[in-house]
């Protein structure tokens, strides 16, 4: 029943959008009526999505999608998150978020009516494309042809609170760029005033903040759920989310630049189209299954080809409009050897090079397989030795960019910065000389600390310190950069200075980690609702007669016959102690302990970046 409601409201929502799309050329709507239609279709899409959630919550196995991906004895949260834990449901979530963005956009004030209408028409067009894709190739409301009273279960690796909220937030970022895309195209068509740039800025900041949160949640999940001790693996799926993120970052910065320069409009439109194209392309790569192998694409070609078609329509349409209707030329860029504009332009170029390099590295194995039928890998080492060196000059520029002036190439208070940089480099040189030296560690620490230091000097020397909201809005760019600096320190320390200790232990053994005694208490097995767990219990002596309990082990999910590893992590502000329980051999358990210094800085940095993303939304 709920499936029927869901399907009908989905089809009806697409129908309304069709009607609106055609109506632009047939007759003119009034604004009120038009917005009402848009909101109604959004609500219908939402209803469709909620009826799918309902089918999952009540474990309605007459729905084929629920039967394939759910199981009645799962905790409620994983029944709900199971809705988007599969291809069909996640595409419906995609569409649903697209509608929500249209819904909120229809309430935007102080923009021209026709401009708003045109933007929403383009949104309606996207809704139709993806709606038809769902209805024809990935319908989550299909009826199960056999009567069953139990489902096949959700992939256990997805049964985790982090991954339950990861897809909606990530998609909010991806799909948020659809609004930016629509605004940019509408801006090209109407070419009125620059008002659209401020609207675009707001929405691109919102999308970027969501995308940041989504990626961070994903990598945090990888950190504690995969149990490999790392949090970024240059996995194709990760790369795909990183591309629109970097392009979006370039977009946000370009939008800031408009305040000082008008000539950058063309570039902004280009980036807006690029961001959404990368989002759709990412959806294609992940959803077509082409990433794991070219051959798995053939198994489910209709879906892949359909999304590829959508990708070509969206990208082709976007860039065609861009070429035909490019914004009128205004005065040339005011690029001095080093002023704010040239710094931003250089950073934009570097970001785009990084994006394109990641893109090439991600699809290169596919190209080679199609051309030569040979499988090769492009993994972490490639990206580390190409993307990171490209970004380093960008990071250097970033540290001073906010204090550069728009007009001249004079840096205020340059002596202070030089002095600070000298002191800092001496400190870092001493640090790396007396502790173990590592090139990347040296560069990373210097960059990270320098960015933080320069931003703090800039805040203190350029503004009067006041504690009110306006002040926080003014120093926001510096705060964002401090966040980046903190994240760079965290990234550097946790990857370069990671320490690994291996043990073979019996229950009751004591061993030494970082000068602290750890007791391997016992192995415990328990039966949970939908899995069996095996846990090694450790007592970590934190000093002062206090100890912390750490559990590391594995879960066995009988429904899908899968084993997941569950790392035990002791979080401290300056390091994470990461326990992995291995296999038992000759009555001894293999235990791997990783000491990851300053991992918490990565998450702190990301939170600061998201915070300043939100603050920037409210700042005009």
């Amino acid at each position: 029943m709920s499936s029927l409601v869901g399907f009908l409201s989905l089809v009806f929502a697409i129908g309304i959008n069709f009607y609106l799309f055609l109506s632009r050329y047939i007759f003119k709507f009034q604004k009120q009526k038009f917005n009402l239609f848009i909101r109604f279709s959004s609500l219908l899409t939402l209803l469709s999505f909620f009826s799918l959630i309902y089918a999952y919550v009540v474990s309605d196995f007459s729905n084929y999608n629920v039967f394939q991906n759910s199981h009645s004895n799962k905790p409620l949260i994983y029944k709900i998150s199971g809705t988007w834990g599969n291809h069909e449901g996640s595409m419906l979530l995609w569409l649903c978020i697209l509608s929500i963005f249209s819904f909120f956009f229809s309430f935007t004030k102080n923009i021209e009516d026709n401009f708003q209408k045109l933007t929403l028409i383009i949104q309606a067009f996207l809704h139709i494309l993806f709606g038809l894709f769902i209805v024809f190739t990935s319908n989550p409301f299909l009826v199960n042809s056999i009567l069953v009273n139990e489902g096949l279960g959700l992939n256990p690796i997805l049964q985790d609170p982090g991954l339950a909220v990861h897809p909606p937030i990530l998609y909010a970022g991806y799909v948020g760029y659809s609004i930016v895309f629509s605004i940019a195209i509408a801006g090209l068509f109407q070419n009125t005033d620059d008002e659209w740039i401020y609207v675009a800025k707001k929405w691109s900041l919102i999308s970027w903040t969501f995308l940041t949160g989504g990626i961070a949640l994903g990598s945090y999940w990888a950190y504690y759920e995969l149990g490999w001790g790392g949090w970024w693996f240059w996995d194709p799926v990760e790369n795909i989310s990183l591309m629109p993120w970097i392009a979006g970052l370039a977009l946000v910065h370009s939008l800031m630049m408009v305040r000082g320069e008008q000539a950058i409009k063309k570039w902004i439109v280009f980036l807006s189209i690029l961001c959404f194209s990368l989002s759709v392309f990412g959806t294609f790569l992940v959803r077509s299954g082409i990433l794991t192998s070219v051959h798995s694409f053939a198994a489910d070609a209709s879906r892949g080809i359909f999304i590829l078609l959508i990708f070509f329509i969206v990208t082709g349409f976007g860039f065609l409009v861009f070429l035909l209707k490019e914004p009128e030329k205004s005065n040339a860029l005011n690029l001095l050897f080093i002023n704010k504009v040239s710094a931003l332009v250089i950073n934009n170029i570097l970001m785009i090079i990084a994006t394109l390099t990641i893109l090439l590295g991600t699809i290169y194995p596919i190209i080679i397989e199609v051309l030569y039928n040979k499988r090769i890998s492009v993994g972490g080492p490639y990206f580390n030795s190409t993307v990171i060196p490209i970004m380093i000059p960008g990071f250097l520029l970033m540290s001073i960019a906010p204090i550069l002036s728009w007009q001249t190439n004079k840096i205020n208070n340059s002596k202070k910065y030089v002095l600070a940089f000298i002191i800092l480099s001496v400190l870092v040189i001493l640090q790396s000389y007396f502790l173990d030296f590592n090139t990347w560690g040296f560069v990373g620490l210097l960059l990270g600390f320098w960015i933080i230091l320069a931003s703090i000097i800039a805040i203190f020397s350029s503004y009067k310190i006041k504690i009110n909201i306006k002040f926080f809005k003014i120093i926001n760019p510096h705060v964002a950069h401090i966040g980046v600096g903190i994240a760079i320190i965290g990234i550097t320390c946790s990857s370069v200075f990671q320490n690994e200790l291996d043990f073979n232990l019996n229950e009751g053994d004591r061993f030494n980690v970082n000068g602290k005694t750890v007791l391997f208490e016992k192995i415990e097995t328990t039966n949970e609702i939908n899995f069996q767990s095996l846990r090694g219990k450790f007592l970590f002596d934190t000093g002062k007669n206090q100890s912390k309990e750490i559990e590391a082990g594995k879960n066995y999910y009988p429904v899908s016959k899968m084993i997941t590893s569950e790392a035990g992590i002791l979080h401290q502000w300056d390091k994470d102690i990461y326990f992995i329980l291995g296999d038992q051999k000759n009555n001894e358990w293999f235990v791997k302990v990783l000491i990851n210094p300053f991992v918490s800085f990565i998450w702190l940095g990301v939170i600061i970046m998201m915070y300043s993303g939100l603050i920037a939304v409210s700042r005009r």
């Binding site: 490999w228 005011n334 001095l336 030795s385 250097l396 001249t408 790396s432 030296f437 040296f442 296999d583």
Partner: protein
Amino acid sequence: MKLNPFFKFLNIAILSFIFFSLKIFAIENIDERVKNLTLELRCMTCQNQSIYDSDAEFSNDIKKIVKRKLQEGKSERDIKKFLVERYGEYILFRPLMNYSNIFLWSFPFILLIIGLFFVLIKTKTKKA
């Protein structure tokens, strides 16, 4: 145009950086070498995991082979060549720098040069 003191200092920083980089040529011990090499190899039975990070049987075998070959005095290049012959190029996370991959490796730097030219052409040298 007179160089800004900031950039003057940047030069010094880069020079000292190069000086310190020389230290990486120092001899590492055998476990360190095994780690560095196996980090760049794909575990063929896992999902996008390096041999170093993986505890799968396949990875443990390869780790042993790599260690033995290093002890025999084989170079990293020889070991990689041996593994590629046995398992194909798929095992290498760092694609080979050969003619067929020339585009992959040169692409970022071509873009960088184009970008640099763009900035140089557009930059005004006189003060506004």
